[in-house]
Amino acid sequence: MSDIDIIHQAADQKYKYGFTTDIEQDVIPPGLNEDVVRLISSKKNEPEFLLNWRLKAYRHWLTMKEPDWAKVNYPPIDYNAISYYAAPKKKKELKSLDEVDPKLLETYDKLGIPIHEQKMLAGVAVDAIFDSVSIATTFKDELKKHGVIFMPISEAVREHPNLIKKYLGSVVPYTDNYFATLNSAVFSDGSFVYIPKGVRCPLELSTYFRINASQTGQFERTLIVADEGSYVSYLEGCTAPMRDENQLHAAVVELVALKDANIKYSTVQNWYPGDENGKGGIYNFVTKRGLCMENAKISWTQVETGSAITWKYPSCILKGDNSVGEFYSVALTNNYQQADTGSKMIHIGKNTKSTIISNGISARYGQNVYRGLVQINKGAENARNYSQCDSILIGDKCGAHTFPYLDVRNPSAQVEHEASTSSISEDQLFYCRQRGISTEDAVSMIVHGFCKNVFQKLPMEFAVEAQKLLEVSLEGSVG
């Protein structure tokens, strides 16, 4: 069939962002033990409390077992074969972009992040992370005016130790789960955001991640604290260079939304997914969780198109009365990609509300799992949840699975879950083709329509990128 030809032909589309930059790096030898933890901490000039916290996490990690409940398959990871720290060797303080290594700037250009044009770009401050150390931070002054703190977490540890002490590990404790505990022990860097009381952050904050040095696990740690009545929108996006060896990425994101605060966290994830035979690709094992106090709101939006394996459940703990949690997701698995993703909504406060919209697209041999939990605790009077998980299957070798868990302990709760799985119907395709639209475009249109409800939730700058990304990823699967 010609449709199949188109699918196969297009499936050979290569990963567009596969390139690496040769920059000398400061890498510690592979292996993990207490000394490595101490070394990471000393390289970063960390205060005593953080080293102790890392060590506690490391010792706890030794007692834990790697989880195996997710519906993903991968060869066992040798945690001693990974190097836990990599930093570009050139490490002097940079005052302007001219001082940045031109090779780095070139990399950003290829990725479509023209740093030197950023000031002209509409209101986006980028804290660009090249491997594990932050190189350039822009728009700092403007944020400073509003009292917003936006800096690499390694700097924040030194400059705002009290905030870090208070909030680091407050939502995702170092004992939380295997990968989060590992992250707590060896986290390399990440972003720290603090929005003071009543401030509406004037810019969309954004971080670009990029894994560069081969065999370097990336252990990002992000902490966002929105003080009472504040608002922030945070964008996270990533592309990774083409690599044959699997690279482990175990990030932790913690959000704290105090009374009346509002955090919008958007992700476009495009790590290297492996080639068409399932060779290589990133293992993306991420713990993301937000805490909502009274009247607060946290909204997670994610577009997941990359990674060989995605293991990720952005969650909201709705602790305060009237708090709101939202989760909007598009997850695409093509070739041999596997995704086990979803959300957890824990309702503790009264009148709490949560919404889960999850769209999964599986193509070729891709396996896509929605796994979620909605828990209504005894005291959560009048809690409300609505979940909708839809899946599209493209090709007869892929799989789509739905595993929602609903645990309700309060009769006043209203919880609804709906899920459906189907292929793109022949009628739909026929209708489009009959109007002169090629199969390729028709499938693309239908999938776009399918994901629209999530794309609408993304900030404008991101929505464009996400659409593009999906198109590229789809080209490799449907035509």
Binding site: W69, I376, K378, S391, L393, I394, G395, D396, K397, C398, G399, A400, H401, T402, F403, P404, Y405, L406, D407, V408, R409, N410, P411, S412, A413, Q414, V415, E416, H417, E418, A419, S420, T421, S422, S423
Partner: protein, 442 residues
């Protein structure tokens, strides 16, 4: 929580029971039983760490229950209070013992075979061995292994091919223990031939105040183009524990409709699996569970679509009052070859009290692309606007509530096509409503 030492004591107890009952025999059936017993011993009793048992508190059966042997214990039956449809044939067991005084098998079609397993175990154990070997031995629940090792009663039903007209049989298992802490290991084999139509109404009724544990395994096979309605009413005593595993295997173009009503008991766990093993098979699963007090009612269903053009439709509804807890776990699997599958599943729960709790996990596992699958799950309470509307028309709060609860249950009851069966179940459900919070003696 039972301590690990307790569990090993229980395992030892069942091994002891095995030795007591079958230690001296060495037929092929005993070899099969021994394998199952070993499997039970190595697997051990379930813990909340196991995905299939994570929300199910099994404390009430984590004790050493002696296995009751079926015998004529009762001579006086007048105080056995149970409902049945009087003009339909019935086979009645009391504590696993076939009781002719209560049964009526006068109108059975000639070609049909109905036996008690106790009889077959004595006369033709080879037949049972052959049949058991057809049962999948891997991936069965640990309670099925226990049952295979120890079963000593139950029913054998064989319906020939091309039965000219639809036939209904009532299977009534009454449990009225004569000693404390008895366990009853029942096994049912039901084979329905090609093109035949068969209705089975099974009732599990518990009487008395002794604690007991029913472990029931049913294996039903539907031949090509057979039509089967399988209604199952569980009305155990307040002190009764009921674990059941039912496997329904369907050949091409067969239609099976199951209806599982759970009313009584302390701990209820129903595992129901449909295997659609021929093209064009249809499986419909309906269920209603009503729980109060500190009852736990757990329904696990699996629908395995292995062939193309099959469809399944599932509707389970639950009403929960007091401290009760319900678990619903429904899995739809669509295997790579099962193109053109149409599978639907709905679970709805109504919570009537502050302390009632529901865990519902509808699951889809889909490996084929040309399919239509959907599931939905809701948990809620009575709509206050609707209540207000009724009360504004002069209806008392209590009556208004009852009306709405009945309306909620009605959707499931209406799936029962046969009027007499529906009337029987509706009666029981109404009794449950009327009993309210004042205890629900069977």
């Amino acid at each position: 929580m039972p301590k690990p030492t307790d569990t090993s004591k229980i395992l030892k107890h069942y091994e002891h029971e095995f030795q007591r009952l079958y230690g001296n025999s060495n037929g092929s059936l005993t070899i099969l039983r021994r394998t199952a017993m070993d499997k039970f011993l190595t697997t051990g009793l379930p813990t909340p760490k196991q995905e299939d048992w994570r929300s199910t508190n099994l404390n009430s059966i984590m004790q050493a229950y002696p296995v009751a042997s079926p015998k004529a214990e009762l001579t006086y039956f007048d105080d056995l209070d149970f409902e049945y449809i009087s003009n339909l044939p019935r086979i009645v067991f009391v504590n696993g013992y076939y009781t002719a005084e209560l049964s009526d098998l006068s109108n059975l079609p000639e070609q049909m075979r109905v036996n008690s397993l106790t009889y077959l175990l004595k006369t033709d154990p080879e037949k049972l061995t052959r049949r058991l070997k057809q049962y999948p031995s891997d991936d069965v629940s640990v309670f099925t292994s226990l049952n295979t090792a120890l079963f000593n009663s139950g029913t054998w039903i064989e319906i020939p091919d091309n039965l000219p007209e639809s036939f209904t049989l009532q299977l009534i298992n009454i449990t009225k223990p004569t000693a404390e802490q008895q366990s009853y290991q029942l096994r049912n084999f039901i084979d329905i031939g090609e093109n035949s139509q068969f209705n089975l109404i099974e009732q599990n009724i518990g009487l008395g105040t002794e604690t007991y544990f029913n472990n029931i395994v049913t294996d039903l096979r539907a031949g090509r183009n057979a039509t089967i309605k399988y209604t199952r009413i569980q009305n155990e005593a307040e002190t009764g524990n009921h674990i059941s595993s039912t496997l329904i295997t369907q050949a091409a173009d067969s239609q099976v409709e199951s209806m599982v009503v759970s009313l009584g008991g302390q701990l209820i766990r129903n595992d129901l699996e449909f295997k659609l093993e021929g093209a064009g098979a249809t499986g419909n699963l309906n269920g209603l569970y009503l729980a109060r007090g500190n009852q736990l009612i757990d329904n696990h269903t699996v629908i395995d679509h292995t062939h193309p053009e099959c469809s399944s439709n599932e509707l389970y509804k639950g009403i929960l009052d007091d401290d009760s807890h319900a678990v619903f776990n429904g899995k739809i699997i669509v295997q790579p070859d099962a193109q053109k599958t149409d599978a639907r599943q709905i679970n709805r729960n109504l919570l009537l009290s502050e302390k009632a709790r529901v865990n519902t996990n509808p699951q889809l596992e889909i490996y084929a692309d040309d399919v239509k699958c959907a599931h939905g799950s809701t948990i809620g309470q009575l709509d206050s606007d609707a209540l207000f509307y009724l009360r504004s028309r002069g209806i008392t709060a209590r009556v208004a509530q009852t009306l709405m609860i009945e309306g909620f249950a009605k959707e499931v009851l209406e799936t029962i096509a046969d009027e007499t069966t529906r009337a029987l179940i509706t009666n029981m459900v109404n009794d449950w409503f009327v009993n309210g919070n004042n205890g629900d003696d069977s």
